[in-house]
């Protein structure tokens, strides 16, 4: 085996082993350099993997040399390579941004450990996307969650502590539900490998045990996903975490949860069982819609911008879940696309906010007054990110909304289409509030003089903004892979 054959595992263990190195060295700058190098290496591995998968199909890697289902398998198909690419890309970009931001927000003697935790959170998420073993998902989920609780609690506000505790409670309940679900499935099939499960489940899918396992897995992932009625932990966690953490988690954590939902629903259980035998498509659709409308409404009334964007994230998750609930290929394509695009736009927005917080210390609506002139590049980035959030062409947000609307129309659900558009309208309102404050309000007289954000922050922000526009115009890559992955998923279950 050459090194190329080891790519699936390298993408995960490079950050995983970089974390103890950071702790071993325990100096701020080397730790950052290690984190940076690890995330870019991982990103490189992810790009190569995606190329490999598009050329030669699904890759299976047997950890420990034991063939599945006895050993643990890493299984990279189109969907996982695609999500892995997003996660590693965001991590790589965020790491560039992190240096200044972390230096200003975290006590200096804890920076090295902070990077270690950030790397662990990242490695955990990458591990979930690549693994083909149900129990391994649980282990890596816990790695990423534990690290997330820690880095969220590092926010300067004391409310960050409470937010992290709430997240810990919800997250652990979710993880335990997932554990129960896996237990039920193991009880009925005797295997933990996802492909094996998919092959064995149809025989026993009529039993009550499998149905209950299905329900627990869905609710557990729903908790992690911040699906509408289970989203209460998310706004606070995102609002009070350090800027780097918010940008990273908002762009990746919920996306990986969506990936897990897709994997479990469509791959392990299969489309027929999940969306047709169980009334899940209806439930997902309704929850998605309620999530879109209610979270967008709440977002409109927020003063704290991080909080506003956090509620907007809940709404965007609603779009993705709605896409899955539509139960047709276009809908699933839209969901996968939105995973990709939303990571780009929320990454850009939260990073830009982080740059503002770096200069101003806070980010409430009234701090924004007159910022358009004082930090022109950062604000311009926020405007473009906001446009993408609304779904204005030619941004990436437009593409995913377009596919979603197509999907709803394909199912003949025009009221749903209207509600989706209504959600976009609400997004327009809250983004407009930002723009109005930044460009049309004079800076308060006593406003501190602020300079434009440093270059090491602007470059990552504009990289993501550029990606937003690029993937809005050149849709071959993002849409192409997403629709292929969706076809694969929908085809797998018939």
């Amino acid at each position: 085996m050459t090194l190329i054959d080891h790519l699936p595992v390298l993408a995960v263990i490079v950050p995983l082993l970089a974390a103890p190195l950071c702790v071993l060295i325990d100096r701020a700058r080397p730790a950052w350099l290690i984190a940076l190098a690890a995330s870019w290496l991982s990103f490189g591995a992810a790009i190569l993997l995606l190329l490999q998968v598009t050329q030669s199909g699904t890759i299976s890697y047997h950890l420990g040399g034991w063939p599945p289902p006895w050993g643990i398998e890493y299984r990279i198909d189109l969907l996982s390579a695609y999500v892995l690419l997003i996660v590693t890309a965001i991590a790589a970009v965020v790491m560039v941004f992190a240096w200044h931001s972390v230096e200003s927000e975290i006590p200096s003697e804890r920076i090295a450990r902070f990077y270690a935790a950030l790397l662990l959170a990242f490695a955990g998420l990458a591990g979930i996307t690549t693994t083909g073993d149900a129990f391994n998902v649980f282990v890596f989920l816990e790695i990423s969650s534990l690290a997330s609780y820690a880095i969220i609690s590092m926010g300067r506000d004391r409310r960050a502590l409470n937010a992290a505790f709430q997240y810990l409670m919800m997250g652990t309940i979710g993880a335990t539900f997932i554990l129960i679900g896996i237990g039920f499935l193991y009880m009925m099939t005797g295997t933990l490998n996802m492909q094996d499960l998919a092959a064995l489940l149809p025989e026993v899918s009529d039993t009550r045990t499998v149905r209950a396992g299905f329900a627990f897995l869905t609710v557990g992932i729903g908790l992690k996903l911040a699906l509408f009625p289970l989203h209460l932990w998310l706004p606070n966690a995102y609002a009070y975490a350090p800027s780097t953490v918010t940008a990273f988690l908002a762009a990746t954590a919920t996306k990986v949860a969506v990936y897990a939902l897709l994997r479990v629903l469509l791959d392990v259980f299969g489309v027929e069982f999940s969306l047709q035998a169980m009334p899940l498509n209806l439930i997902l659709m309704v929850l998605g819609l309620v999530g879109i409308v209610s979270a967008s409404l709440v977002a409109v009334f927020q003063d704290d911008i991080k909080r506003m964007l956090a509620y907007s994230s809940v709404a965007q998750i609603g779009y993705m879940v709605l896409g899955i609930g539509l139960a047709n290929t276009t809908g699933v394509t839209a969901a996968i696309l939105h995973v990709f695009n939303h990571a780009l736009m929320k990454g850009a927005l939260f990073l830009a906010l982080g740059a503002i917080a770096y200069r101003l210390g806070t980010a409430t609506l009234r701090d924004f007054a007159g910022l358009g002139r004082r930090m022109p590049w950062t604000m311009a980035a926020i405007v473009i990110g906001g446009l993408s959030l609304i779904g204005v062409p030619p941004t990436a947000g437009f593409i995913s909304k377009w596919y979603l609307v197509l999907g709803t129309l394909e199912q003949g659900l025009w009221p749903v289409t209207l509600l989706v558009l209504f959600g976009s309208l609400l997004a327009l309102i809250y983004v407009w509030k930002l723009v109005e404050a930044a460009y049309f309000k004079p800076a308060p007289a006593n406003a501190p003089a602020v300079a434009e954000a440093p270059l090491s922050m602007l470059i990552p922000v504009w990289l993501l903004v550029g990606a937003n526009v690029y993937f809005g115009i050149h849709t071959d890559i993002s849409v192409g892979v997403a629709s292929q992955a969706a076809t694969q998923l929908m085809g797998a279950g018939g």
């Binding site: 263990i13 103890p20 890697y61 050993g71 902070f114 935790a117 282990v139 534990l146 009880m187």
Partner: protein, 301 residues
């Protein structure tokens, strides 16, 4: 119950009962771990926390109706789920048919050790165990990020934590070497009987915790300086990962121990031993670090 001390002790008892139950269900390794972790470490950590946050709880004001409904719904769903489940002890249950037979029949031959749980843990599903080691390492990093760790003293302090408990001190002094010896036994005997790196690490850490509790601040910290502990934990993870990387560079998949020696079974044995040492080091140092972090806060407060 308004007294949280009682709550914690009851939980400890519950944990111990669970361990006994696991023993009855043939899960010796799990019983061992549950007794050491659930009844031992968790209790100590919870009590250290109570010492800081106060022992009494206020009477809650909320109506219990909504939680009851949620719990009843979940419980019903679970009971519904078990209705089609295989019965207890049924040898024909699907869980025992598909994957498990290979572990039982081939495990002792392919991996070369009688304890199948260790074989599955460290070899067949070695990557899960690697993840587990990282989980405990993550928890250590998280606690240190939150609480920080006090630097150890450089000279031997005179004062003790618990007044004039002569009997206690003498007995503990006699016991600690035995505990540490037992920890080593468990570490290296894991291939043959119950035990392994994780349990050994916990037992070893317990020895130090006991010493710290009885002989007061500082003494135990002179032996293992607190600021070394996170690094030691990192080292353990790196040992485990290093074994994986070695096999990777030797042209075998990650964590394939058969790359370690010419004879695959011998390689498996060596690999399992090495990774168990990694696990042991990490668990020992992280558990001790978490305890120091919590107890250090108590002394400052």
């Amino acid at each position: 119950m308004r007294d949280l001390f009682g709550v914690v002790i009851l939980f400890s008892i519950y944990s111990f009962m669970t361990a006994a139950l696991f023993m009855d269900l043939d899960a010796v390794d799990v019983a061992f771990t549950e007794a050491a972790v659930g009844a031992g470490v968790t209790t100590v950590l919870m009590l250290s926390c109570l010492r800081l946050t106060g022992r009494w709880e206020r009477r809650p004001k909320h109506s219990p109706l909504l939680p009851l409904i949620v719990v009843a719904t979940t419980g019903t769903a679970l009971v519904y789920g078990t209705l089609d489940a295989p019965l207890l002890g049924d040898p024909n249950a699907p869980a025992h048919q598909h994957v498990a037979p290979r572990y039982i029949e081939q495990g002792p031959i392919e991996v070369g050790m009688p304890n199948m749980v260790t074989a599955v843990l460290a070899s067949y599903r070695g990557y899960d165990t690697f993840g587990e080691t990282v989980v405990i390492f993550t928890a250590g990093i998280a606690v240190l990020l939150l609480l920080g760790i006090q630097e150890g003293p450089h000279t031997r302090p005179g004062r003790t934590a618990i007044g004039d408990q002569i009997v206690l001190r003498v007995v503990v002094k006699l016991l600690i070497p035995l505990i540490l010896l037992y920890g080593l036994y468990v570490q290296f005997h894991g291939d043959f009987g119950a035990g392994g790196g994780f349990q050994a690490g916990v037992i070893f850490a317990t020895g130090f915790i006991l010493y710290d509790l009885v002989f007061g601040e500082g003494d135990a910290r002179l032996v293992v300086p607190p600021d070394w502990l996170p690094r030691l934990g990192a080292l353990g993870v790196l040992i485990y990962g290093g074994v994986g990387l070695y096999s990777l560079f030797a042209g075998k998949p990650f964590l394939d121990y058969s790359a370690l020696a010419h004879d695959p079974v011998h390689g498996q044995h060596l690999g399992v031993m090495l990774v168990e040492i990694g696990v042991g080091i990490t668990v020992f140092s992280i558990i001790l670090a978490i305890f120091y972090a919590l107890a250090g806060r108590a002394r400052r407060a």
